[in-house]
Amino acid sequence: MVFPNSPTDHGPDGFEPAWAERARSLAERVVRPTAAGRDRAGRWDHALFAELAADRPGPGLAGPLVPRALGGTGLSAAQTCALLEGLGEGARDPGFALAVGAHSVLATVPIRAFGSAGQRERYLPRMASGEWLGSVSLHQTRGAAADPAVAARPAGDGSGGWVLGGDLDLVVGAPVAHHFLVVAGHHGGRTAFLVDATTPGLRIAEAGPEAMPTCSWGRLALDDCALPQEAVLGTVGGAPDEVEPLLAALDWVFTSAPWLGLLRALTRDALDGARDRRLFGRPLTHSQSARFALADLATQCELAAGLLYRAAAQFDAGRPSLADAAAVRLFVASAARAVTEGAARLAGPPSATGDRLIERTHRDALFFAETGGVDVLHPVIAASVLELG
């Protein structure tokens, strides 16, 4: 008889409800009141970010994954996921949550994982405090699936420095960021660089899609930007093994986390709204069909949560899985569409008032799905299933 020890190193889910709740109530108090207005104006509010960053001993949303020794909160990946989930639910602002995640996870973790001691000491404390905002382009968080947009060449002066050129779109928070994580292609491979906003030859323009306007989109134009050797993050030519898969997995997991919170908020709104709304002379909640739809929304949230926290727990166990991270993004993006549409159906034609959460999330869910992209996620998951690729 086979009678195995069950895995006891972690629970089956890794949920961190207490951290989610802390972030939720903070964001509800600080961020939510201005969400609709900032969305209309397409405005980034640095004071808000500073307030969330300064919330110590609270969640400290600027540096959850920065070790305490470097001034961060030193949380686990699962706890950070919970923070971002709570931020999404409380703030009801997909763009703002994207900017926080881009800074505190996408721009932070590669430095923690691959940075030299100098880079870690220079960047991480100031990022954890919220003084410096780090940024990435969402074109560079799915490996090199797209053709490379930035080219690098050795400076040729023997200094070990590099010269970068090219244009980079979809840069989260670009106009307000202190530095950017940029992957550039060159003869022999691809390398990650840390590019400060003040680098000569770098122009930063406000430009971006209509979705998630509160993250403050921008575009980088790199015109012969000379970077010192110290700007190289990780190994020269090492991006395909180092920064690229890490950035992809981080994006697919942690950028999905606020969406889980948004889906919970939409589901709760839909429940409340269905109680108030009347159709055919009775409350919508008396309709079996509406009841079924509400049950399905709640189900989507629970399913998404399981995948999300499994992937987060894999980071904490030191064994992140690219395929499981891709599954998170695939499922959450699909749930975001389903829940937004279900919530819209239950809400009925929009009124001129209200905070328009459904409209915002509907607009942003499409963008969220596009930037993940089933044409990238499917092959990554299939490669794992088939052991090919």
Partner: protein, 404 residues
């Protein structure tokens, strides 16, 4: 870490898996399967040590359920209805003194139990149940009369846990329903099999109870609303059946994709096929994680009933989708009788239907969300809203003097 590998390798039901096609074709669970089950400890996993179980932790239980469901869904259903669902029902409601006599043989595999709720004209709505228990008269005990239909294990069970109405005498304010533990080896019992689309290895059929006798201690009045709490074990059982079927279907589709070349292109290299495999992988993983979470909640003493209702809906419908994808990837071989994916496709739909249907469970999940109980109103409200009949044409209703 990737939990799925743990579950698949933890229990070895490979013998049962080898016989799965035969089990389906002959509509009989081979006796060797029962021997393997007893040896594996499967039947004892779900029960605490006090009543003869192994008191396995929930992740071991779920790993075992999935492994058995992957090996042979029919065998899984039969064994799990008896050792999980029926044992939970008996131990939740039975008198401790009679406990042992009924439960031990189910855990040892000497006896098999069925849970009889549905009737020929009644499904999950207990209000339509007609089977009735009444006092047997001077000899003591009770007798039960009625017909139960579409019951797993009915054709060969030794013991039936029967949901029935209770004939109440004046002054009896107890619940109107009861669970009766009926010994099926007695003259008042006859049974029949019902052929069906899938899960053909699983015994399934009807029980005709013609004043079958029930011992005095084997009748437990139960408030009907409480029963769903225990029946949720059944939904969990269906969910793992679905996960097993889906995982088997995905594995078969993956093998086929790696082997098959069409138009000079191996299927596994085609993005359309990859998309189908990737979707299945993500859906199965999401389901399994939710199923494990539900099992852990239950093990921690929490109800999780609504979570399990949501799980059962998604899991069973997901498995139909995954099995259909596997059939499509296989093409015509996938619908050939006896092919693994043909069998899985038929089995998958059975998990949707078995236990409460998706719609019934959506009702319950909705109630669990705080929407209050279902409110019925006859469908008479479209016409008053001006939407009850076809409109006039572009020129209105036909008029004596049609306008220009």
């Amino acid at each position: 870490m990737n939990g799925r590998h743990t579950t698949v390798t933890a229990f070895d039901f490979s013998g049962i898996a080898v016989r799965a096609a035969e089990t389906d074709a002959t509509a009989r669970i081979p006796s060797q399967n029962w021997k393997d089950l007893v040896d594996s400890g499967y039947l004892r996993l779900f029960s605490p040590r006090e009543i003869g179980g192994l008191g396995a932790d929930p992740l071991t239980q779920t790993a075992a359920m999935e492994a058995l469901a992957r090996a042979c869904p029919g065998t899984y259903w039969s064994a799990t209805v008896s050792a999980l669902l029926c044992v939970k029902l008996i131990s939740a409601y039975a008198d401790p003194r009679t406990h042992d006599r009924l439960i031990r043989p189910l855990l040892s595999g000497e006896r098999l139990a069925c849970f009889a709720v549905a009737e020929t004209t009644a499904g999950s709505d207990s209000g339509t149940i007609r089977t009735t228990v009444r006092a047997a008269g001077p000899g003591g005990g009770f007798v039960i009369r009625g017909e139960k239909s579409r019951i797993t294990n009915a054709p060969n069970a030794d013991l039936a846990v029967v949901l029935a109405r209770r004939e109440r005498l004046a002054g009896d304010d107890g619940p109107a329903w009861c669970l009766a533990f009926v010994d099926l080896h007695q003259p008042g019992v006859s049974r029949y099999e019902i052929p069906r689309m899938g899960l053909r290895g699983m015994p399934w059929g009807g029980l005709v109870l013609d004043d079958a006798h029930i011992a005095p201690t084997d009748l437990v009045p139960v408030p009907i609303e409480e029963l769903a709490e225990t029946m949720a074990w059944g939904w969990l059982k269906n969910s793992f059946a679905a996960i097993g079927v889906a995982e088997s279907a995905l594995a078969a589709a993956t093998r086929h994709a790696l082997e098959r070349v069409s138009f000079g292109r191996p299927l596994a290299h085609m993005e359309g096929v990859q998309a189908q495999l990737a979707q299945s992988r993500a859906q199965i993983d999401a389901t399994r994680l939710l199923a494990r979470r539900a099992a852990c909640e239950r093990a921690a003493g929490r109800s999780a009933r609504d979570l399990i209702a949501m799980l059962k809906i998604y899991a069973t419908e997901m498995a139909v989708e995954v099995a259909a994808r596997a059939v499509q990837i296989h093409g015509a071989t996938g619908v050939t009788h006896g092919h693994e994916v043909e069998r899985l496709y038929r089995d998958a739909q059975m998990n949707v239907i078995g236990g409460f249907t998706s719609n019934r469970l959506r009702e319950q999940a909705a109630e669990g969300l705080g929407l209050g109980p279902a409110v019925f109103r006859a469908f008479d409200w479209v016409a008053p809203a001006g939407l009850g009949h076809d409109p006039a044409g572009l020129d209105g209703f036909p008029r004596p003097a049609a306008a220009a």
